[in-house]
Amino acid sequence: MADAASTASESRDLDKLLLRPGNLVDPDFEPGTELRDALQEQVRVLVVGAGGLGCELLKDLALSGFKNLEVIDMDRIEVTNLNRQFLFRLEDVGNPKAEVAAKRVMERVKGVNIVPHFCRIEEKDNEFYSDFHIIALGLDSIEARSYINAVACSFLEYDSDDNPREETSKIMVDGGTEGFKGHARVIKPGFTPCFECTIWLFPPQVKFPLCTLAETPRNAPHCIEYAHLIKWNEAHSGKAFDPDNSDHMKWVYDEAVKRAELFGIPGVTYSLTQGVVKNIIPAIASTNAIISAACALETLKIVSGCSKTLSNYLTYNGVEGLHTKVTEFARDKDCLVCGPGVLVELDTTVTLQKFIDMLEEHPKLLMSKASIRYQGKNLYMQAPPVLEEMTRSNLSLPLYDLMDKVPKDILHATGTINKDNKKSSGLRKLRVVFKGIDGVTDMDMAGGA
């Protein structure tokens, strides 16, 4: 066994896990040099984000046996990144993060190839994302996570019994940090909750009511937001506030100080002004390192099967003492993003009006007064009147034509659901399949949100 492992090899330590059989491993684990070689030569991993988590992820993956990595990030390096984004130096400030990060890791780890993409995640088409075996997310925004999650879930297919097909599930590992706290999770669409299934995990952002800002400010952030959201527009008709412009920031700070003095409120500082206006989340190197490494370790285990997998959400809290916890969250069966949706089979001649009428009778939907959206555009809207009028002409057209004559795709319907004699408004995902079109099977795509 394991004669290929040698103490003189760069994979000295990894070989212990990859070449030796184990007891607490994935049932499909097949240890051996073939596994190691496949990891190095065939497996392609995408790292989304080259910031605090992304820098760590690239390093961790490169030193976990992965040789084919790509990284995507639209940002350029800033001075405030340097306390944790260890691949960047002062002289790199202003350069694209993805490019510098890729270069630095390739310089230090022999045989690793990292392709950087200096662009927005939305600029890449779905095929780009479908090309990777696994996607590691090092992001700091809910919107970006939602986007990637929707793309990954769009690859998921269900069989005619609404069971997800495992080979179409694009696995993601996701990390996030704030100060001494963080989370790492594994998302296997169709099998574990996707990002949208557990969107409630993210608390709503604090927004101050405008009347508080305008009439009854009580603390420093109220004064700052008054200057930022109200006073700025009054004083600079039409000129947009730029948070990265230090003159703009200074102006807001000065105004906030004046307001605070007027109301006898303490605590307005320049640093707090920046924090409130830019919604700055405190970030430190250690937490990013912990969370990224946990994500990288899960990536290694998922791809190789060399151990069990996190199921499915790890929280880390070092604020007081140290608390870590693994929670097994459940899927939302009706999730609009990863769920199967309701299958509706149609003839190509069915008009949009007929389709809307059908939804009322469909036993799984019972939806009346439905508005229909397809790929982000309104096919028919019940309200407001101006939109109703604009979309009314679609009602008499065949749905097949309105959906650009694709044999199958996802629609979203909003309307009144009449269930158990109770009415509620609801949004439903519909898997529309047109009968008698070539290439249609009873399988279908799940995503497309």
Binding site: E10, D13, L82, F86, K110, R218, S271, G318, V319
Partner: protein, 552 residues
């Protein structure tokens, strides 16, 4: 050179300029710079610690290139300490970085006084024998010590300091100190002066919930004698609040309903605080630390002027209110807090005099901070490693061994010790080299069983699966695991080091105001900000169900 303040902006928002100043003064020693040690230091160097000294006697081998980012091909056969040191220096030129090409075990055995020059020692990948010796040395020299070890898919982090007392801890969720159930006269007066039945709807919706709850509690007391205590009474009380709303958009009443649990809370101090004032250290003498002198004064206050309560914290959360009411309320809480502080200060001075110390040796600002944070005091004590290893708390150990949630973690705890015994006997770790795995497994099993017997846990066994896994790990130091262990270690180091310094002659408002820290030589101590982990953190890389084991 960029302004350091900008570079550190994202962390200054957590530990402030004072915490940063403490980091920049710290001198850290790292023992062994494999990936676990290198990753620990990387995070500390990025954060801007004062100086680092790396101790490692080994040369860079091919295998190191696959698990340590701080070495590269050009480092082969060179001193590992030197290569890691030079890479770390690249990360932050403000840090003084040096290295010593020497095996840590040699220093521990021949030059124990070497360690006394440091603020803190990070000891990675040490075996039990060296851990015990080093722990003795560091305790003797009053140097903080943290152990970190990565081993296959497991590892551990353990702190060893005699005592770490925290004043300015920053717990995530902590109940506001509003005293709604026990208002002092001025608060009651303030509330009574506000008419809950005011006709003007704008005034009605801007009555702060503090006033609503104090008045409604009085009303309730008049008819019931006591505050609501049963579930039914609490529900009824909330209904009463709801009934007083004149329109559905009154956020202040909604806040009052949501905050009514603060009124129902039991008065008096928490059991944690009770434990601290009952600690034998609160019986102070000439050798007592400032912290315990202040605890002694606090104890007297709680028994006398405080009427069972700690000094008032003095700050209030944001709430719907007119600016005028809110600012007045703020002043009211601050005034009461100031009055409580003056009482405690007097008591501190008297105690200092009594134990033969300079009555002014603790500054006003320190006492003030102590009072403000009195409800959140924390005392962390760490048993000497040797004690824990020779006499772990048996009931705890047995509880862990039979608890499903803990069984893997405690299994690793035992096995991490067993592999060291194994190595002492057989000169290599089980499974470290290929071949002979079956023999290694049976030897490790025998070693683990005899260790459990020595600890008094006869009859308890570890699963075959876990023993097999431990042999499979073969002492591998995987990068991802090392980055997790090193990350945790560095976070704990920061928590041990970060202290908030207080401007000596500061008035209430000045505490916490930011100064340029390097311009303030007259900063004075020194209240620690964070609560570090207690016990031994056992990493479980199999399913991430890691656990903190407290065996004392």
């Amino acid at each position: 050179m960029a302004e350091p303040k900008t570079k550190y902006d994202r962390q200054l928002r957590i530990w402030g300029e004072q915490g940063q100043a403490a980091l920049e003064k710290a001198s850290i020693c790292l023992l062994n710079c494999g990936p676990t040690g290198s990753e620990t230091l990387k995070n500390l160097v990025l954060g801007g610690v004062g100086s680092i000294t790396i101790v490692d006697g080994s040369k860079v081998e091919q295998g190191d290139l696959g698990n340590n980012f701080m070495v590269d091909e050009s480092s082969l056969n060179q001193s590992k300490a030197k290569c890691v040191c030079s890479f770390l220096q690249e990360l932050n030129d403000a840090v003084k970085a040096k290295f010593i090409e020497e095996y840590p075990e040699a220093l521990i055995n021949t030059n124990p006084s070497f360690f006394s020059q440091f603020t803190l020692v990070v000891a990675t990948q040490l075996v039990e024998e060296s851990m015990v010796k080093l722990d003795r040395i560091c305790r003797e020299a009053n140097v903080m010590l943290i152990f970190a070890r990565s081993y296959g898919l497991t590892g551990l982090v353990r702190i060893s300091v005699k005592e770490h007392t925290v004043i300015e801890s920053k717990p995530d969720h902590f109940l506001d100190d509003l005293r709604l159930n026990n208002p002092w006269p001025e608060l009651r007066e303030f509330a009574e002066a506000i008419d809950l039945n005011v006709q003007d709807p704008v005034a009605h919706k801007h009555i702060p919930y503090v006033a609503i709850l104090v008045n409604m509690a009085d009303e309730w007391r008049k008819s019931h004698g006591t505050l609501p205590s049963t579930r039914e009474e609490k529900r009824e009380f909330k209904e009463l609040l709801k009934a007083r709303m004149v329109s559905m958009d009154e956020d202040n009443y909604k806040e009052a309903i949501d905050a009514s649990f603060k009124l129902f809370a039991t008065p008096g101090i928490s059991s944690d605080l009770q434990q601290i004032i009952n600690d034998s250290c609160a019986e102070v003498g000439s050798s007592s630390s400032d912290f315990w002198v202040m605890v002694a004064a606090l104890k007297e206050f709680i028994a006398n002027e405080g009427g069972g309560e700690a000094p008032l914290e003095g700050s209030i959360p944001d709430m719907t209110s007119s600016t005028e009411h809110y600012v007045n309320l703020q002043k009211l809480y601050q005034a009461k807090s100031e009055a409580d502080f003056l009482v405690i200060e007097q008591r501190v001075r008297n105690i200092l005099k009594k134990i033969g110390k300079d009555p002014d040796s603790i500054t006003k600002a320190t006492i003030k901070s102590f009072c403000k944070n009195a409800r959140k005091l924390k005392v962390c004590r760490y048993r000497p490693v040797e004690d824990e290893y020779n006499n772990p708390s048996l009931p705890e150990l047995q509880k862990y061994l039979t608890d499903e949630d803990y069984s893997i973690a405690v299994g690793f705890y035992i096995l991490l010790r067993a592999v060291d015994r194994y190595a002492a006997n057989f000169n290599s770790f089980p499974g470290q080299f290929d071949g002979g795995m079956d023999e290694d497994i049976s030897r490790l099993k025998t070693t683990a069983v005899s260790l459990l017997n020595d600890l008094g846990c006869n009859g308890l066994t570890l699963t075959e699966d876990l023993i097999n896994e431990m042999c499979r790990f073969g002492a591998a130091e995987l990068h991802a695991v090392a980055a997790i262990i090193g990350g945790i270690a560095s976070q704990e180091v920061i928590k041990l080091l970060c202290v908030a310094m207080i401007y000596m002659s500061s008035l209430w408002g000045n505490v916490g105001v930011t100064y340029m820290y390097h311009e303030l030589p007259f900063l004075q101590l020194i209240t620690k900000q964070f609560v570090p982990l207690s016990g031994t953190y056992i990493f479980n890389g199999i399913d991430q169900k890691s656990q903190l084991l407290t065996l004392y």
